[in-house]
Every structure is written in C-alpha cells, then in structure tokens.
C-alpha cells in the first residue's frame, strides 16, 4: 500500500467514525425520549460522552486526510467543485451537529445539578429536556447533510 492508500484508508475510517457516531446518537435520542430521572440521564450520557470524543476525532480526521488526498493525488485538486461542496457540507454538518450537542447537553447539566442535590427532579422535567425539538431538528439536519456528503463523495459531480 502506498502512502496515499493509507491516507485514503484513514480518511474513510475517520468518516465512518463521524457518521457511525451520528447513528449512535440516533439510538440515544430515541432511547432517552422517555427518560425522566437524573440517574438514567447520567447513565446514558456516558455513551454520549464517548461518542463526542469519537465524533470529534472522526470529523477532524475526515477533513485533514481528505484535504491531504485532494492535494496529493494528481487527479484531484482542493478547488474542484465536488471537493468544495464536500467541505461546505462537512462544515454545515459539523455546525448543526454541534448545535444538537448543545441542546442535548442541557438535560445532562440539569441531571447533574439534581444529583448534587440528591434529587431525581420534578416529574416530566428531564423528559422534556431529553425530548428537545431543537436538538432533534439539528441532529436530523446534520444526519441529512452527511448522507448528501456521502453521495457527493461517491458520485463526485464534475470530477
């Protein structure tokens, strides 16, 4: 395998880390819709915390290794239309994903406050935070952008 082959493998592995974690977040979003206790919210947050580390590594790796390939491979240029489209989609997905993360951190912060006070919270309070519609919207957008990004990477329009 050449260096470019290795970089391509790392690029795709990073992309799987990024996109696969979005799937993990979907599982958490569905599972937590009926969670209404501080202890359960904190328990599920352990998975989300691991996911956030993986998604950050994957997001950075996807861009860095992808740009490396665009510069290194003679058949591609960083200013090719499909490369620019991919970078824009990557940025938009990262932004919406980050906004979703902000919304889904709110129930965890509240759950930790409640645990510090040795309480489980008023009925419905954490459930409402776990069902954040803003977070769901942002995560849906982020996921759709990743699907479009995958389509751009496969079809490479204009290449």
């Amino acid at each position: 395998m050449s260096v470019d082959d290795w970089i391509l493998a790392l690029h795709v592995l990073s992309a799987f880390a990024m996109a696969g974690t979005l799937v993990v977040y979907w599982v958490l979003i569905v599972a937590m819709r009926n969670i209404d206790t501080a202890s359960d919210t904190i328990a599920y947050a352990r998975v989300a915390t691991l996911g956030s580390r993986v998604v950050i590594a994957g997001t950075v790796g996807t861009l860095v290794f992808g740009l490396w390939l665009a510069i290194s491979k003679p058949e591609y240029q960083p200013w090719d239309g499909w490369v620019i489209a991919a970078i824009v989609l990557w940025g938009a997905s990262g932004f919406t994903g980050s906004r979703a993360g902000t919304e889904y951190t709110k129930p965890l912060v509240r759950a930790e406050e409640l645990r510090a006070a040795d309480e489980e919270g008023a009925p419905g309070e954490l459930r409402a935070l776990n069902r954040t519609s803003a977070g769901l919207l942002m995560h849906t957008l982020s996921s759709l952008l990743i699907v479009v990004l995958l389509a751009v990477m496969v079809w490479k329009p204009g290449a």
Binding site: L8, A9, V12, F16, L22, V23, V24
Partner: protein, 150 residues
C-alpha cells in the same frame, strides 16, 4: 472511495452508495449496542437499548450493506479465483460477521428475556463482547475496502 471513482463506471455509484450507507448504519448500530451494554452496569433500560440497537439498527444496516455488496459485486463481474485480498477480507467480515451478529442477537435476546429472573447478564456480556469483536473486524474491513492492500 476516491480511488474507486477514478476507475469505476458511473453504474457502480448507486450500489456503492447503498453498500457504504448500510455499512455506516451497521457500524453505528453495533457501536451503540457495545457501548450501551458496556456502560449499563445493570441498568435495565440501557441493556434494552443495547439489545434493540443490534436488532433494529445493526441488523437492517447489515442487510443494506450486504445487498449493496452483492449488487456492486455483480456489476464488477468478478470471476472465481480472481478476487483480490481486500474483497476476500470484505466477504469474510460480511458473511461470517453476519452469522456472528445473529449469534449476538440470539444470546442477547435470551439474556434480555431472563433479566426479569435476575439471570441473563452473562449472556448480555457475551453479546457485548461479540459486538466489540465485530467492531474490531469492521475497522479492519473498512481499512481493507478503502486502502485495498494487494
């Protein structure tokens, strides 16, 4: 994927898209299952999440990935004895890996049903271990399918 784009006809794009999309769902579903089962510490809700992640996310993802794999394999027209190493790794991860996924589902299903009797945690641990093994195999497969050694 970009190397493939240089040499593959446009007809292969849709099956490749289906294959990769299914693989992403599969990897995400197995990762969710492994992490939920690993962090559950006896939490019944998380054990349920881990099991249903395998059943309702990873299994459909495997089917989509496998359909896409067969589709693009038929398009490429490989013949017996001519398959490159990366493809052999892909098949090994897909088919025996699929069987292992079914084993994890059966063990997890039995374990989940026995949780009410304070049994089944061992079976769910086995499901978690199999999920971690599958994740490791998927990393190797993604490396092989994209880097194409040999």
């Amino acid at each position: 994927m970009s190397t493939l784009a240089v040499i593959r006809p446009d007809d292969w794009n849709l099956p490749l898209f289906v294959h990769v999309l299914g693989a992403i769902v599969l990897v995400g579903g197995v990762a969710a299952a492994a992490s939920a089962l690993a962090f559950a510490r006896g939490n019944a809700g998380m054990l349920r999440t881990g099991y249903y992640s395998l059943l309702a996310v990873a299994l459909p993802g495997w089917i989509l990935m496998r359909v896409g794999a067969q589709w693009i394999y038929d398009e490429e027209g490989f013949e017996g004895g001519e398959e490159p190493t990366w493809l052999a790794i892909g098949w090994f991860t897909a088919d025996p890996g699929g069987a292992l996924l079914v084993v994890a589902l059966v063990l997890g299903g039995v374990g989940f049903r026995r949780l009410g009797d304070d049994k089944g945690s061992g079976l769910l641990k086995a499901t978690m271990v199999i999920s971690l093994v599958l994740l490791a195999a998927y990393v190797v497969a993604i490396w092989a399918m994209s880097g194409k050694p040999g």
